[in-house]
Subunit: 349 residues, 2 copies
């Protein structure tokens, strides 16, 4: 029996070698300078992530290298770029003549998309932030509802000032974007008895969302919201979607959360309304310039809680989930099948 | 038909008058100086709250009056004191010779209980804070898990420093006290996939709690906790329950929430551990001295978020829920039945 199994194993390895000879992929893995250790793809993590996709890693020739020189050397040969963070990808046609696919470890690829020449597929990591992002989203709504931004501001002044509020039950949460994070926030919000509204381009029905609006009808939805939570990517269509006019449609007791991209909301207008007390509070994880410069006035806007673009990232699950998408797509490419999480580089998501 | 109903109504009023003549209660309503408008009992709120208890308000002679003079005048005649907040209740035997029952609008009555002479029943408002308190409890756990105390501290220094964490799923919440608030936190925590442990005097099984410990076994439970949440009242048994030794049993990544009474936890020891980075964070709503003096070092302890003893109070439901208990108890007293929410003045809860 043991011998038989061994033979079968050898046969299978032999088969995979022959298939490998027929088609392999040259992959370069690179990380931008802001990537922390828990978000890096190492050979060890690669091997671990490959286990769910038998036979795939054996057909990949993988090089690893960060920094401009290593990147250029990698690009010169690579058919696939597996990318975490921001690196210089200008002039790709010339620098990466064999490149046919870029797998990004970001969900938002608004800066990368315009750099990708026709004929090179771009796939993103959309979906990896669902569970952790959903949790932070509902945490932000709970903080706003409990007036934690006010408590934090008063604490800095050693000021004892009671504020009594009511539970979330029956209050209205408006989701701008109903993808992985928005969908998870919706599920959790229903658990607290909230009414959940959603806005998306087509207004298509979503689970746990009581009513969907098309983006064109945004102005009808905003006045109904006790809380607005955006997970929208930055695209030509979403840029500046929540401007001063839209902010003015919100009730003064409303609070805003942004876990998507900063450019969707006019932060200057938001800061002004928070300073005037015309909105209850805001929780922001994303900014136009990151890291947010120390001189930015946003740091000290009242009733605003900032986190440095990390609140939706799962320390343990982020890399494994990105590797799941990468290996699934590598398998698809080796089989000549369409990739998943494919970005329309014109739409930007 | 209309006439018939009218007659029936008159009959019923007649009956209730006769019963009223047999037994009535003289009630004085008073508020301490720190009570905000939304927490006051007005004649209008009294009438509204009485609707669920037909016939009861008609048998009460109610006077209203805050401040020392009005209180003394009220106490001189009152059989029942309906009390919100803290007032001078020294020397009750002499000042309130007819008094037989005090209904407090607080859940914690550790300061009041020792002042109540034998023969006077003390009932508290335990239970009224469940829904809102449960929500703030899980909000506090979510904040600690997301490192919001760290973000808030870094924001004050305009410091961009990413911290990545993992979701609540599978993490352990240890509840000290499993009453109305603790029970609701347990229910919500299970919704996030947490493991919930509980500590109570007898260690009796509780819904949504995976394992209960007796207070005597506290030292076994503390090292297992990612988060500790106390809703314990202050009694001779709970005073100082979490001292330096117990704090040292916690994992350095653990966070602490206190929504019960301050005296249960050694805040000096807690502050020291937070300053040294030996605990992840804390969320405190209750303090030994309230309002917390502006000179208290607690205001500026790192990774500590303070709220001014209001986080569990429901702006809208608090007074109606207190009135529910009051009228239910008034009905019981008029019928000669035992009161609910009765405090053992020796135990203090």
């Amino acid at each position: 029996m043991a011998k038989g199994r061994k033979t079968a194993g050898k046969k299978s390895r032999g088969k995979s070698k022959r298939a490998g000879a027929a088609r392999r992929l040259r992959v370069h893995v690179t990380h931008g300078p802001s990537i922390v250790e828990s978000q890096t793809v190492t050979p060890e993590r690669m091997s671990k992530g490959a286990k769910a996709f038998p036979g795939v890693l054996g057909r990949l020739d993988v090089s690893y290298g960060d920094g401009p020189q290593a990147l250029d050397a990698g690009l010169a040969e690579a058919e696939v770029l597996f990318l975490a963070g921001t690196v210089d990808l200008s002039d790709l046609k010339r620098r990466a003549p064999r490149l046919k696919w870029i797998q990004s470890m970001s969900a938002g690829v608004e800066k990368l998309a315009p750099l990708v020449p026709d004929g090179i597929a771009l796939t993103n990591a959309s979906g990896v932030h669902g569970p952790r992002g959903g949790e932070y989203g509902i945490a932000a709504v709970l903080m706003l509802n409990s007036r934690v931004p006010q408590f934090v501001g008063n604490q800095q002044k050693a000021r004892w000032h009671q504020i009594h509020t009511t539970p979330l039950k029956g209050k209205t949460l408006l989701l701008l974007g109903t993808g992985a994070i928005g969908g998870e926030v919706a599920r959790l919000a229903k658990g607290f008895g909230m009414r959940v509204l959603g806005v998306s381009r087509g207004g298509k029905k979503q689970p746990n969302v009581d009513k969907m609006y098309r983006t064109a009808d945004l102005a009808k939805a905003l006045p109904l919201a006790d809380f607005v939570l955006s997970t929208l990517p930055l695209t030509p269509e979403t840029k500046g979607l929540i401007g001063r006019h839209e902010l003015d449609l919100l009730a003064p007791h409303a609070g805003i959360v942004n876990l998507g991209r900063a450019g969707v909301i006019d932060y200057e207008g938001l800061a002004e309304k928070l300073r005037k007390g015309e909105l209850s509070g805001a929780v922001l994880d994303v900014f136009d310039e990151e890291p947010l410069p120390a001189a930015s006035p946003l740091w000290s806007v009242p009733n605003l809680i900032l986190s440095p673009h990390c609140a939706v990232d799962d320390e343990e699950a982020y890399v494994p989930r990105c590797l799941d998408i990468f290996f699934d797509n590598a398998k698809r490419m080796l089989a000549g099948k369409p990739l998943r999480n494919l970005v329309d580089t014109k739409l930007g998501y």
